[in-house]
Amino acid sequence: MATIDYTIPGERDLETVDIHVNVGPQHPATHGVFRMVLTVDGEVVTDVDPVIGYMHRGNEKLPENCDYRQVIGYHDRTDYLAQFNTEHCFVEAVEKLTGIVPTERSQYIRVILAELNRITSHLMFVGAFGTDLGVFGTSFMYAFRDREYVQEFFEEITGERMMYNYFRPGGVAWDVPENFTERCNQVVGQIKRGLEDLHGLLSNNEVVLARCRGLSRVTVDDAINWGLSGPLLRATGLAHDIRKTEPYSIYDRFDFDIPVGTEGDVLDRMMIRLEEMKQSVRIIEQALRDLPQGPTMAEGMKRILRVPEGEIYMRVESPRGEYGVYMVATGTDKPYRHKVRGASFCNLSALRAMSVGHYLADVVIILGSIDIVLCEVDR
């Protein structure tokens, strides 16, 4: 192919300066207090410098001074869009270290709530992603209409809208209300209907296709090298889902598929999340069918939970990818060391590699497709 000289005659005499555009921490597209310093040459981004840390609250250090049950609240505050998933991870870690076996009923409740939480998180993604794409809030309103049903459902169970603090080592804090199954079926029905609306609005829209298809392609090797996980990794075609590859809790009892992409582009990332919601619905329906009666807390739980000496790395599939807790226990009632592996932190580290050379408008979409939660990034 012949090389074309794109320089404009006389351009060498003109002094052109790349400007720095400071996107964030107060910017509608950065989803929180994320900041990126873009170097732009006209519309093209030549460098991205992500700046994080505005939301740092010491969420890994603080639990080292807390009782094991108090730590659960801090996990709600890492990934504030997938609280049940994060709680699930920590609670499972403690259970594995101590050898507590949670009751059957509580395991089912945990899975149902975690999957519903995955749906709310993905709904949030789809809404915000549409806004990044430029839809005037319609995708956001559609997504939030359905998310609200689930939020209300969570509120009925836990008494909280956001920081649920409901899972406990050994089970759940209290049993679910009596009408749990009917309400859950109602909510699932709403989600199914809402998903069709979202598909109609976004996934078959020519403008969305023109914007997203082929944008920021990531290969499997790159994705693994960068430490991507979750929908970003599955978009590249690798069917890696911890619920399947390393089943925790009771996920091996359910029949569900892992949607994978082919291109690794932004469109695949969006479509995978839309499809994952359907798979979550499948899991919830199976779990509701099998939901056993019985106690929701293991027997013989002490008032003060002392975890025997040992260390553990427990990981779960959160909506954003691999959410992990590394914990060292020394036999006291407090963790000696407590480290969180945030999925969106690792995914965000690939932002520069994914977005340099793209247009300014596309960098916003690429950032949106990572689906970051700043509380989880900064912790």
Binding site: I4, Y6, T7, I19, H20, V21, N22, H27, P28, A29, V40, D41, G42, E43, V44, T46, D47, G130, T131, D132, L133, G134, V135, F136, G137, T138, M141, Y142, R145, L201, L202, N205, E206, V207, V208, L209, A210, R211, R213, G214, L215, S216, D265, R352, A353, V356, G357, H358, Y359, L360, A361, D362, V364
Partner: protein, 373 residues
């Protein structure tokens, strides 16, 4: 038919202009309410409900708020460029309103070259956008201003060519003549291609989705208007909404038969106004609908669409018109040819959007950036 309000011609024009400049802001206040209500409905919410019945007075409350707000000018802004930019944006819109008749009786000035004048004047506002972008000393505003400029040169040519096609058919640039010619068939029947091009380019002119690139909220945070506050900011809004009405009225006049079609030229005044109101509202609702449902294109995709698809097809429409007029073919050949071309264009756009991904590495950038990791 044409009434004269005051005795002297100039006094008459002055009175009419005064009425326009008083009515337009009121109309804009109502239109913001309509837009918020319509988009609210499309998004399954109520829209404004608190101020007055059904939130009807919301616009009034907003206006009071905007007028009493502090007029902030950034310290480093270029003072006169910054402060004058809003007037450069608003004045051309009112200038265009001067030449635009609503019905046979409701107008300011009947210009022989009305269509030409309106298209020429409505392009002036861009100077204000670039001034605002430059004068604000803000990089978002600068990017927005440059985008506005790039967008204007892209959509303006197909827009004008689509209007030229209509002028060819009517052999006139006078809007009265053009409307009078549509007493049994509106021009949309003869020029479906030109109509589609006009509607798409009109969306771009209004900076509405999918072409709200210069004011993109999630990218450049409002673009040129980002540093403006209070009444100066509301001028941007006013210009946007007046242009919305202008484009809608213009499209109704030159494509949908204005105040005549589907009735006769000697309609009663109220019927003319009603016809125009219905047609204009249709366009306004269409533009609002687009805003509520479509995402945004990228600037290079807009330019590709305008230069590579709309412009050649606009020329094609003109060639079709020329052939039909020169060889004196029957009218229905116009409909057939233009309709076929419109279908071809739609297919092309549809296929392009679905097939291609994007050209997303700008030429020359790979060498400059080098290896990313």
């Amino acid at each position: 038919m044409i009434l004269q309000i005051a005795g002297n011609v100039w006094a008459d024009a002055a009175v009419r202009m005064l009425i326009v400049s008083l009515l337009v802001p009121v109309g804009v206040i109502m239109l913001t309410w309509v837009e918020r209500k319509v988009i609210g409905r499309l998004q399954q919410r109520l829209g404004p409900m608190r101020v007055g019945p059904y939130g009807l007075l919301q616009g009034v409350a907003d206006t009071i708020k905007l007028i009493t707000k502090e007029d902030v000018r950034p310290n480093t802004a270029d003072r006169w460029t910054f402060e004058l930019a809003v007037f450069v944006i608003v004045v051309p819109v009112f200038m265009a309103a001067v030449a635009l008749p609503f019905t046979a009786d409701i107008f300011v000035r009947n210009m022989a070259l009305g269509l030409f004048y309106i298209l020429a004047v409505s392009g002036l506002g861009i100077v204000g956008f670039v001034m605002a972008g430059w004068g604000s000393d803000n990089k978002y505003a600068l990017l927005g201003g440059v985008r506005a400029g790039a967008q204007l040169i892209s959509y303006e040519i197909p827009l004008i060519l689509a209007a030229v096609a209509v002028a060819m058919l009517g052999q006139s640039l006078n809007l009265y003549t053009l409307v009078a010619l549509q007493d049994d068939t509106p021009f949309i029947a003869y020029q479906p291609l030109a109509f589609i091009i006009f509607a798409i380019a009109g969306l771009a002119e209004l900076y509405r989705q999918p072409f709200d690139i210069p004011v993109a909220e999630s990218e450049v945070v409002g673009g040129p208007s980002v540093e403006y506050s209070g009444i100066r900011w509301s001028m941007f809004q006013m210009a946007e909404f007046v242009s919305l009405v202008l484009i809608s009225v213009l499209a109704s006049l030159i494509f949908l038969g204005g105040w005549i079609w589907p009735f006769s030229a000697d309609n009663a005044g109220w019927l003319q106004a009603l016809l125009m109101a219905i047609k204009t509202t249709m366009f306004i609702l269409f533009f609002m609908w687009m805003r509520a449902t479509l995402p945004r294109l990228r600037i290079d995709q807009l330019m590709a669409l305008c230069w590579q698809i709309l412009l050649p097809f606009a020329f094609l429409q003109i060639i079709i018109n020329g052939l039909v007029l020169v060889y004196d073919w029957p009218d229905y050949t116009l409909t057939i040819l233009s309709g076929a071309a419109a279908i071809a264009m739609g297919t092309l756009v549809y296929q392009t959007a679905r097939r291609t991904g994007v050209l997303y590495q700008a030429p020359g950038i790979a060498q400059r950036v080098g290896s990313v990791l």
